[in-house]
């Protein structure tokens, strides 16, 4: 092959690698954001404790691996249902009475909840950061010379499965229809015989379970410590607003778009401006589509 050919090939490889990395990271962003957007869509709660729910999922997977030897990816069948129940309990005993007092109250309330959870975790788990090294995931697969880290590939597959499951739940089941009805208009839904309070509780549980699931998927690729939620939640809000508040497909599109833009931006513009590029995109989308990429305006 001549020189130009090699040059072109390496250019293509860089581009492909950036896209693959971007999509993989973006799918994790999307997973974190979906839970947040679903809670907002149905209940109009901006859950500032969402990052801490992710953190709890991460610690859950970490402990079940280090103490019991359960593969972190398999542990999702423990932690998602456990956090689903946990979320419902939080709603029943902590949130329910605050919701009718308005969005500002729930905002402050979940901010307080996030501090409480993070500090309890600091108390019990200490501030040490931890990483989880899976023996089978030390080195990435290299199809066509493009590095695909195994934990991220598994996480992507599971994120797709969870998304399909969520889609089926929302579109094919009675509970799903009730959730969507409540999201569209809680009063009309109540008039049609939907038990709005119960749906709220299920939705909050679902949002929490999705956060925990995202945490479980993140652990093998990232590190964890009790206040890790802080760095996740900022990205998460950008994604949710980018995709359209309350829109599940929007959160997925937003997550993957942000992952791609950050990755390509870092390679082709400058790493130093990685976050800047993300936020510029964010501002541009809001400028031209104030309700987000796939958002539907709601009066």
């Amino acid at each position: 092959m001549n020189r130009a050919g090699i040059f072109l090939e390496s250019k293509m490889e860089i581009f492909a690698q950036s896209v693959v990395s971007g999509v993989l990271t973006g799918s994790l962003y999307a997973m974190i954001a979906v839970g947040l957007t679903i809670v907002f869509g149905v209940m109009r709660i901006i859950n500032l404790a969402h990052g801490e729910m992710v953190m709890l999922g991460m610690f859950g997977a970490y402990w079940s691996y280090t103490l019991l030897g359960i593969d972190p990816f398999l542990s999702i069948v423990i932690w998602a249902p456990a956090m689903f129940a946990g979320g419902m309990l939080i709603h029943r005993f902590l949130l329910k009475d605050v919701i009718p007092r308005g969005e500002l109250n729930t905002l402050l309330y979940t901010a307080g909840l996030s501090l409480l959870v993070a500090n309890l975790a600091l108390f019990f788990f200490t501030g040490d950061y931890r990483t989880l090294n899976l023996p089978y995931a030390l080195m990435p697969a290299r199809p066509f010379g493009i590095a695909v880290p195994i934990p991220l590939a598994i996480a992507l597959a599971m994120a797709i499965a969870i998304t399909i499951g969520l889609y089926l739940l929302l579109s094919r089941t009675d509970v799903g229809r009730a959730i969507r009805a409540t999201a569209q208009n809680p009063h009309s839904a109540a008039l049609m015989g939907v038990n709005v309070l119960r749906i709220d509780m299920i939705t909050f549980g679902l949002g929490t379970a999705l956060a925990a699931a995202a945490g479980v998927l993140l652990v093998p690729s990232l590190y964890l410590y009790p206040t890790v939620g802080e760095i996740l939640i900022v990205k998460c809000f950008v994604i949710v607003v980018l995709g359209g508040l309350g829109s599940v497909p929007g959160a997925i599109a937003g997550g993957i778009l942000l992952g791609l833009v950050e990755s390509l931006g870092a390679v082709y513009v400058s790493v130093a401006y990685k976050d800047t590029i993300g936020f510029v995109l964010f501002l541009l989308v809001l400028l031209f589509r104030p309700s987000g990429l796939l958002g539907v305006g709601r009066s």
Binding site: S10, E13, I14, Q17, S18, S21, G22, T25, L122, T126, G127, D128, Y129, R130, T131, N133, L138, M139, P140, R142, A147, P149, L222, Y223, Y225, P226, T227, I231, K235, E262, S263, L264, G265, A266, V267, S270, V271, A272, K274, D275
Partner: protein, 411 residues
Amino acid sequence: MSYKAKLLAALSLSLALSSGALAQSTLKIGAPQPMTGPDAPFGDKFQKAYSMAVEEINAKGGINGRNIEVIIEDHQAKNPLAATVAEKLITQHQVLVLTGGRASGQAVEIASVAQRLKTPYMVDHPSADIITSKGFEWVFRNNPTGSIYPEAFNKFIIEVPNALPKSAAVVYDNTVFGKTIANSAMTFLKSKNVPIVNDEAYPVNSLDFKPIMTKVKANNPDYVLLVAVSTTDAILMTRHAKEIGITPRAFVGFGGGFGVVDFAKQLGPLAENVFSSAAWSGNPNEPATKEFYDKFKAKYGFLPKEHEVEGYAAIYIIADALKRAKLTGNVDADRETVRQSLLQTDMTTVFGKIKFANWEGPLGDKYTNQNAYSRDHSVLAQWNAKGELLNVWPKSNAETDYVFPDKALVR
């Protein structure tokens, strides 16, 4: 005795006790450190080092009969908070002298507060040149500055046959620490006509280094130089660099996250043969330093490194200054006395020789109260398969032979 008399007796007794306690009051040293958040493990290291030194000093009779005490305030690795807690230590806890800080960004804030509130600040670990090059007469530093960190690496590439890089990629965080070290390393490489094929600054606590490493891989550099103040960044960037498949002759980190045991613990085999130029932790071939290593290991179960040695030495330097100072009990006057006393420091700790002086650094910075022996305090170390970081260059400090080029990378 009547009730009143009893009360009076009790009151006077308690008064006598408390004034007695006042005369015996401890000498307070303040240390802002990250006790929670991503840098919490570092705060823990310094806490252990300080308390070991404090226990030893107090057990030997303290400072002229008075005990010393280190008060740690948590700044969570946040720069503005570092200024707040430094001020709190000075005004509320009435400490005589400050130490600690952990990272340069936070230490810069603490130094400004110390200068403004006229309290000596004996820097034990933060390394950015600017901390001692602002002309602050209240700020002292035992450890070498960031621009000195790469000196052992510089010696290595000059002195070891065939080691001079044909090209180098430099990836560093955009903190004071990262920029100082990267700048110093690149200045030297350019002076040797080594092409810098990547010059990449990333925001601290990044979640994804694969894009940067993709960019680096495209240039196929001979050396990859990495600077990370945060351990999580050091771990993630090394992992992503190896995942993407970069194969230089050597990965070289410069202290920070590359010098802590967690680096090898979390990365496992991926940490093997990674160099770290910086981490001066005393000369292990010195008997006194070796003795400290063993004592520390016996007490806490792990070998001390730069942070523990620096923290431990800092308390001894401060104790030495306090011992020579004639304290009056007036905090403001005593702080000035301690500052004067620090200026006269001339001793050897487990870290090495120490004497504060004003001199010019490798990049032309004019240092104030910077340890005059700093240029001797740079060493190149390398992680081995057992997860130990051992000194390899210069020879006088070496604990083992270097592994170069890094064969673990050739597949």
